[in-house]
């Protein structure tokens, strides 16, 4: 899927991260820099004082037009651990329902001197739109836009993979489930290919896989056992309940029978393979509880690493304001 806007919008004239909207158009070097920076932040929970003073005095606004508890909470925690102050805007109950346009909302929040917007919106391209219209002293982080992109989730997944596997280049990674409707999968595929893994596979029923697989640089499998054979990483996607209503899927039981991950099926992957899931898990639909809670599951680590990765992205994006110079 083409990006709604030029991805260069994300970089300033020094090639540094100004907004974080999509993985598309970002270099391997920059992705590695995000992971390296996150590595330092990941050690902070081990200290008596978990905060660092990096963004002291800055205001970060969570602008969530779509419900999300965990993503919003980890962004809020990341901002607070950087010593920034956080405002949460629950747009469902605010002025947009009274007919205020997105741009009006933006201008109002800018007038509150926010330095950064963390945006989640059901519409693809919403974060790009806001980044294009925001004032030069504001950075925008995409926390998920429609089916398009969820770049911080992809980067926390890359961080988790690197923690367990070290080098990306020899890895085979399978992404299983509803790839077609998943902004997470789209961002993961871009990140994995940019970081140079050996092979990315997508696994699922025809109705839930994109047709442009070749353009995405992935191999397509419709059989789970075959799709995860000899892979180092299995990423399970959440099956959105609303997909069950349409003609895309027969029913939950049938889906689990064909694509649910069980210990038995996991035998096809490499013995040291890790199992990931962006959460929340539908137990008994995407995977068995035995797998989700088993020794190869790194699902809860993903949540912890998500905080460090979001801290890295926020602090790096704030650097663009340093490049502007003058009083900030």
């Amino acid at each position: 899927m083409p990006s709604p806007r030029s991805p260069n919008l994300q970089l300033n004239e020094h090639g540094r991260l100004r907004h974080f909207l999509t993985i598309e158009g970002l270099s391997r070097e920059l992705l590695v820099q995000i992971l390296d920076t996150a590595e330092s932040f990941a050690t902070l929970p081990g200290r008596p004082v978990k905060k660092v003073p990096l963004l002291r005095g800055r205001i970060i606004t969570n602008l969530f037009f779509e419900n999300s508890t965990r993503t919003r909470t980890t962004f809020e925690l990341a901002a607070k651990l950087l010593s920034a102050d956080v405002i949460n805007f629950n747009i469902n109950t605010s002025a947009t329902t009274k007919g205020e346009t997105l741009l009006d909302t933006l201008r109002n929040i800018e007038a509150m001197h926010s330095d950064m917007f963390v945006v989640r919106h059901a519409q693809s391209g919403a974060a790009h739109f806001i980044a294009q219209h925001a004032s030069p002293r504001v950075s925008v982080i995409n926390a998920g836009d429609g089916r398009h992109s969820h770049p911080t989730q992809a980067m926390l997944d890359m961080f988790t993979i690197r923690k367990h596997k070290g080098d990306f280049t020899p890895l085979r990674v399978a992404i299983v489930g509803d790839v077609l409707h998943s902004r997470v999968a789209r961002s993961q595929i871009l990140a994995l290919n940019t970081l140079g893994v050996s092979e990315v596979r997508i696994v699922g029923p025809r109705t839930l896989l994109p047709t442009e697989a070749r353009a995405l640089g992935v191999h397509v499998f419709h059989d789970l056992a075959e799709g995860i054979k000899d892979v180092d990483v299995v990423i399970m996607l959440r099956l959105q309940n609303e997909r069950m209503d349409g003609a895309l899927l027969p029913n939950e039981h049938e889906y689990f029978r064909l694509y649910g991950l069980t210990d038995e099926r996991l035998e096809n992957a490499r013995p040291d393979a890790i199992v990931m899931h962006p959460g929340p898990i539908n137990r008994g639909i995407e995977m068995d509880s035995a797998v989700a809670d088993g020794p190869r599951s790194v699902i809860l680590q993903q949540v912890s690493y998500g905080i460090a990765v979001r801290m890295a992205v926020m602090s790096m994006a704030m650097q663009s304001q340093a490049d502007l110079g003058g009083e900030t």
């Binding site: 330092s40 050690t43 003073p53 602090s315 790096m316 340093a322």
Partner: protein, 178 residues
């Protein structure tokens, strides 16, 4: 382009660190700073701290501080892309800390380092060791133990290269980059 000259070579620097170790040992003894723990500031200070640690024969390895997240010039320079995790494997609370840096200049690095140390705990004391002390202080911070105070011009900079071999290099004129 900035010109540079070699100021001191590996063996001479090792001699200098030996001298610092002797002064430091005496100072710790005179002030009854028992059971000290060493912390070096990334990168040059960490190399010096490791050697001092070995000479003094301290029990635990020296700690490492990367003060990138504590710098007061973040709004001008942003996050250092080469940031690495700080690593302090001992309890700071009630401990006599020896804080080591390669070059003491403005004092801002030391202020940041002390802020970070206090986020790990409340030390009994901090003794500051600088291999090189130079003019240009912007904060009221002075070292307890000094290796050498070479005369430097206002626009000169001195840098410790290493870790093997160690070398002290002086750059003349305004420095490019950070």
């Amino acid at each position: 382009m900035t010109e540079s000259t070699q100021f001191m070579k590996h063996d001479a620097i090792l001699d200098l660190i030996d001298g610092v170790a002797t002064v430091l040992r005496n100072r710790l003894r005179d002030r009854r700073l028992d059971d000290p723990a060493m912390i070096g500031i990334h990168t040059g200070g960490a190399w010096v701290a490791e050697r001092l640690n070995a000479i003094l024969g301290l029990d635990q390895p020296s700690g490492l501080l990367d003060i990138s997240f504590y710098r007061d010039d973040f709004t001008q320079i942003g996050v250092n892309p080469q940031v690495r995790p700080s690593k302090i494997d001992f309890d700071i609370d009630g401990r006599n800390i020896v804080l080591v840096d390669d070059v003491l200049h403005t004092g801002r690095t030391i202020r940041a380092a002390m802020n970070e140390i206090f986020d790990y705990g409340r030390p009994a004391s901090i003794t500051l060791v600088a291999l090189i002390e130079r003019s240009g202080r912007e904060l009221p911070i002075q070292p307890d133990v000094i290796g050498l105070s070479p005369p430097l011009g206002l626009s000169d900079h001195i840098k410790l290269n290493g870790p093997d071999p160690l070398g002290l290099e002086i750059f003349h004129g305004p420095r490019t980059g950070r």
